[in-house]
Each structure stands twice: as C-alpha cells, then as structure tokens.
Subunit: 306 residues, 2 copies
C-alpha cells in the first residue's frame, strides 16, 4: 500500500501553539534563535507567533518585532524559501499582521460552538462572519491562509463530535475560499477509525490537498492517525518540535504531535517530501529544553540525547 | 478497511518483561496483588514470572511461590479462565517450570545471533537445539507455548535486520512446531512499512494466527505498527500495564507498548476481542506506580488520573 501514499509535508507549530502553553516565557531573541534553528533543520512552514493581546498571552509578546528580525534573516535561507506564519485571532490582529512581512495568516474556528465560546469567547457564527471578510482580505494582501478547525472528533465541553457536523463547517469554509483547513483533534481522542469516518465525507467536498491534520498525542495515537490520513491522501501535518505544547483551553489536551517523531516515521518510510535534518532538529529541541527548564515529550528526541 | 481487521487479543507482559527491568524490587505478595488486579480488569493471558536464576534477576525471584498463590486464586476467576505464563530461559528453568501449574511457557530466541550471545550468552544455533527439545516436551506436558523472536527489524549490535533473515528463523521455528511466535521489535525502530516488509513473507509460511507482535514504544510507533499488523491479519499483541518495562539488554530500548494505550485504541474502534475494564486496568497501574515510586509512561493512563 506504500505506493498509494503521497509524500508528506510538515507545518511546524512549536513556536506558536507550543510556546503559548509554557509557563516560562521566552523573549523575542530566544524565539528567533529557536525558529532559525528549525530553519537550519530544513523546516519551511513555521508558525512563528500570534497577533493576540500581549497581556493575554505574554508568551507570544513581540510577534511584530520577531517577524521583523526573521525578515532580515531571509537572505540566509534563500534555498529553503521559508514561510513565516502568524496566528490571527480577530480583526485587530489582522490589521496588525498586515503591517508585518508574515507570509501566511492562520485563523481559528471550531466544529463545536461551545468550544468557540469558551476558547475565544465568540460564537461559531460570529467567527464565520469574520472569516468571510478576513480570508478574502488576506488573499488580496497576497498572504497565504489556513484555518484551524478545532474539535473535529471530540469537544472537551460537548463530547463526541459527529462527522456530519464537521462536514457542515468544512463546506462553509470551502465556500468562503479557505485554502487550507487544518483539522484539529484538539483533545487527542481520535483513532484511525475516527480519521476514516471524518475524512471520507470531507474528501467528497474538497480535495485532500486542502486539508492538514493537526493532531495531539494525548493518547499516543497521533502517528497511527498520520498513517491513516496518508492512506486517504491527506499529506500535510502540523507538529511541534519536541512535542512542545498542548492546548491551554482544552482540559486534558496534551502536547502536539512531536516533529521529531513525525520526521523519523516519515523518513524511515521514504514518505517525507522535504529534506529534514533530524539531528539538527533534535539540537533545536534540546536547546529549547534548556531554555524552558523542562524535558519535552518527544520519544524520538529522547533517543537522540547526548 | 475496518471490516477486514480481525479482533485483537492482548498478552500482558508487565509482571515479567515489565517488572524485570525495574530497579525497585517487588515481593511475591505485591506481584500477586498486581496480577490479580490485571485479572480483575479482564486480562486473561498474563506472563507472571520467569524461571531464571534469582541472583541474576531478583525482580522475579519466587516465581514458583507466586504461581502457587495464583493457582489458589483460580476459582475466583472461573469465567475468565486465566492463563498464567512463565518465561523459560533454559533446561533448568524448564524443569523448574514443570513443577508448577503455569499454563504456558515462553521461550527466547533472536533473529540476530549477536543479540542471542549478548542477551543470554548462547548462540542462536544452541538456542534452536534447545527449543527442538523443550517445545515438544512442553506440549507433552500439556503446556501452551510461545517463542519470543527478538530483534525482528533491528539489532542494537548488528543494526537493521533483513526480513529474509527473520524468515529463515521463523521457518525453523515453524518446523519445530512453535505454536505462537511473538515477533519482537526489541529496540522500537520499526515503522508500519517495516511491519509490512516483515510480515508479507512470514504470512506465506505460517497463518497470521501463529504470530503475535511484541512492540516497544521507544519512538512512539507501536500503535501505528499495531494498526498495520491488524491490517495484515495479525491480531495478537504483547503489552504491559502502564507501559512498564523495556529490555534491560537492549541499549536504547524503552518501555513496552502500554496496555492502556492499546486497549483504548482497540476499544474505540471495536477491535478488541475481550471485555477489558480500562478504569480497572488504570487502577492496577496507578497502584503499581505507587509501589515503584515512579510514574509509568502510558499516555492513556495519564488521562485517567485521579
């Protein structure tokens, strides 16, 4: 069955989704160093920050300054041609992001209305209306776009989410012209069978290339879910260096799928599109462990110690 | 593809493979309590001890006494009809095991000759000759048998192991009448593609029902490998409560696949044959954590805390 699988691409979320959940706060300089190390390892798509209120998420304060520094470093990574993504939570964040050289903007919505309310204090309908304005505006400003669609199999407040509910949201997002939809198994409940039940209807309304999987390893299932997704043609995966992160708003959600674990599995099967240097990636994560004063959960990272 | 998958069975190795790798030593009474808790959770096949020299592996000292105690408890588990397995490393261990009520005997060999030498200080050929005597003798004594075939994809001393090398060993074992062969990814290097490459030739010489997978979660790949194995019809899996264990003789080998993680994934997909009580299983592992004074690695176990 190997032959049917497409080659996979990685979207690194550590510097944003990962760091925003850490109690120890890193400054702009440290975050720049971390991001440049990830580029050195060959990662191209990196979510570097967020245009949120700095008093709300101090971990990501100074994203504008960070992007300015990263912009200056571009010339050293011409061959890689990095894409620095930013999380844009609302209109205010959008206008701030437009003033930077951020290559791509990512937006948020959830399949569960309750999760929208609890996570960003806004209804799903409200978020749809905003996306209807911001997605075309981002494209007009020549920025790449993606939409995080959270709680695609399970909501910490509503419980199991039915594929039909996700399908309705995806249809709307496709109608709004969402280029890439990152399907978030926010709480890490999903099994390969859930992936199958989720993706089967979705792939009838949009091609596999429109989807990315944003998996959490809460129950150790993320690599199995990657395999199932690849089997069905979906080949973009969000991950974070070292398995950093988690979702601060979702009770019981553990770290993101670790980039090292994903890279190891894909490389061993010749299923990774980019040329990633796993040892360099591990060095970046080990450096980050020292900065944060705690060990990261990636299993492959532990085998690369020393 | 769900329909093609057979229902899975679990072979619990925590009380043997798991405990023998712990620095803190549990007495016979504590081990009995642990094993009875596993029966309470619905696990039927449990490797409870080993007939090794007690000065070599003090963690498993008193296996004979343990089996005597467990035998007395059988009447309380009539419906489950437990099968208490013992690891039998050599002729001396075999004659000791024969004096107990152990339902099944498990033996060891490795695809890598170097691993045989380093692990038990005997050549692969020597182990084959012993198995040729002990397997029929065990059957004659009405005991169930299984053979652990270690290093099926990677040897810590020899490096990658080719499927053809494993095939040769499996053919010999089948000729010797080995009822069940537990294929050990000792170092946790294997990916689903390795599973596919390993099992494809093996399933031509013996039916899937003759194989079990003994996976280590060193690189977080064991659940993905379970899915691939199930896909190919192999449906028996070794696991240890809490993910206890590892292989003391294999550098870099981390814990066994955790029974909780396996049970969660299989139950959620309606792929588990037995009726396992996951909460009861987690209670057994939490009790063990308290005994050992350390946390166990199972991810699902962490979500069941408190």
């Amino acid at each position: 069955m190997t032959a049917r699988r497409p080659k996979a691409e990685i979207f690194e979320v550590g510097p944003r989704d990962g760091l925003q959940n850490q109690s120890r706060i890193l400054g702009v300089e440290a975050r720049e160093h971390f991001i440049l190390s990830l580029l050195d390892a060959g990662l191209r798509d990196i979510e570097v920050g967020s245009f949120v209120r700095e008093d709300r998420i101090p971990q990501l304060a100074g994203t504008q300054a960070l992007l300015a520094r990263l912009d200056k470093a571009r010339s050293r990574y011409k061959k890689l041609s990095p894409r620095f993504w930013s999380f844009v939570p609302n209109r205010k964040g959008f206008s701030d992001a437009l003033e930077t050289s951020s290559d791509g903007f990512s937006f948020f919505i959830a399949a569960s209305d309750t999760f929208c309310l609890r996570n960003v204090n806004r209804s799903q309908e409200d978020l749809f209306q905003e996306l209807a304005q911001l997605l075309p505006a981002a494209r007009k400003a020549k920025r790449l776009t993606r939409v995080y669609l959270s709680t695609v199999t399970y909501c910490p407040y509503e419980g199991p989410i039915r594929p039909a509910q996700v399908l309705r949201v995806v249809k709307k997002l496709v109608d709004l012209g969402a280029k890439e939809i990152a399907l978030g198994d926010t709480t890490g409940h999903a099994t390969p069978r859930d992936m199958e039940r989720l993706l089967t209807p979705l792939l009838k309304v949009a091609p596999a290339s429109r989807f990315a999987m944003h998996l959490h390893d809460t129950r150790g299932l993320s690599l199995a879910n990657v395999c199932q997704s690849l089997e069905m043609g979906v080949s973009k995966f969000d991950s974070s260096a070292g398995g950093l992160g988690g979702c601060p708003y979702a009770p019981g959600a553990a770290g993101n799928l670790a980039t090292e674990d994903l890279v190891y599995m894909l490389q061993q099967q010749d299923l990774l599109k980019a040329d990633i240097d796993l040892a360099a990636l591990a060095r970046a994560s080990h450096w980050l462990e020292a900065q944060l004063g705690s060990l990261l959960p990636s299993k492959v990272l532990k085998t690369l110690k020393g």
